[in-house]
Symmetry: C2
Subunit: 229 residues, 2 copies
């Protein structure tokens, strides 16, 4: 089965890439350089894709700083730091990037149709970071309908399927799954801050560190600061 895998280089997308391999997919990865603050993640995406032995890896470039609207695409908006997991889960955070997953899934859909792939894997999960509207099941279902109606393949009765294996998993469960699948955590990247070393205090670092800690595991990435020390 030919599959397009949305790969940011983080824990979740790296885990679904390895899941797709277990599912016996021929994996075509796609990543995005949208001038995100943490473009460093693209290095990780390239390394993880290579390690996993994908057939092809497309990096699509565009500039979401043209209109900003997020702490990840506008340096004038401060990145939240040292927030508790509780605080993180309360509101849609300023790291929300307007329509990001819709843009990502749209490109993945175009790529999938051009290479006649049968499915698109995406690593969204709703439980840990439920603030993001475009990580929830009802949204994914709505995109599935777009995949069906908006393409030649779909109109011909062979819609490209969205596969979201992590949608109901907590971060700890994702790490447990990734461990079983042999995901090379040391190659991945989660930090939002944009440095060459993970900051340890942004929401992404704290979520990641908290989950490794809860599992009694050690995150192999070096951190500038350990938020929960």
């Amino acid at each position: 089965m030919k599959a397009v895998i949305l790969l940011s280089g983080g824990l979740d997308s790296s885990t679904i890439l390895y899941q797709a391999k277990v599912d016996q997919c021929e994996c075509h990865a796609i990543s995005f350089d949208y001038q995100q603050r943490h473009r460093r993640e693209l290095q990780s995406a390239l390394l993880v894709a290579q390690q996993a032995g994908v057939v092809q890896h497309q990096v699509v470039s565009f500039d979401l700083r043209q209109w900003g609207g997020s702490a990840l695409t506008d340096d004038a908006i401060d990145l939240p730091q040292e927030r508790s997991l509780d605080e993180m889960s309360q509101n849609i955070p300023v790291t929300y990037v307007p329509a990001r997953n819709t843009i990502f899934l749209s490109f993945a859909l175009g790529y999938a149709e051009a290479i006649a792939a049968e499915c698109v894997y995406i690593g969204v999960n709703a439980l840990d970071y439920s603030g993001y509207p475009d990580c929830r099941l009802d949204y994914i279902q709505a995109m599935q309908e777009v995949f069906r109606l908006g393409t030649k393949q779909g109109r011909e009765g062979k819609p490209i399927t969205i596969v979201a294996p992590l949608i109901d998993l907590k971060k700890t469960e994702i790490i447990r799954l990734g461990n079983d699948l042999g995901v090379p955590w040391e190659l991945t990247w989660s930090c939002y801050a944009g440095g060459d070393v993970a900051c340890g205090v942004c929401d992404a670092c704290r979520l990641r560190l908290a989950a490794f800690t809860e599992l009694g595991l050690v995150d192999p990435l070096p951190y500038a600061s350990h938020g929960f020390d």
Copy 2:
């Protein structure tokens, strides 16, 4: 009312821009350089946007030649020429670009949310060129659901609305409407062929010329060849 207008520089999108002005919108145009064969259309988009007096005009650049899959993004696929209107309407043509309107609408959605716009205008119409799956009403309705569920604005009960004023119009009706609205046809561009003068024989030129002819009007654009002479 703040609106984002998808503007390619063709007849349809130029007409909806002028419609949005009549609808008293504050118009923010968005166009795409996707390395299309007919990038010449972007010059027209810029001129039409300027003539209409838009508040802002974003041109988003990315490269759909990375995977091609269309005569508009892969020079190895020949452009259909000298087809009758009947032939054009029978199948999804090779000028179909996988997921193009989904990609365009996704960026428009992100832009709209970043500037707190209330709607996105798109010039799709289903009647003349019904081959394109992502120009039909059911597809637009599916995208509307994505607009509602995939954004912060939507989750807060203020979804960005897709406005498709031309969805049920034939090309002749669009030209009649555009005439009433004062659309500067001489600035617009439809030709797919990629030359500096419209070819007159690609599907886009022939549809356009046939509609002007049917109305007893003269298309002010110069053509290399008049397909129906």
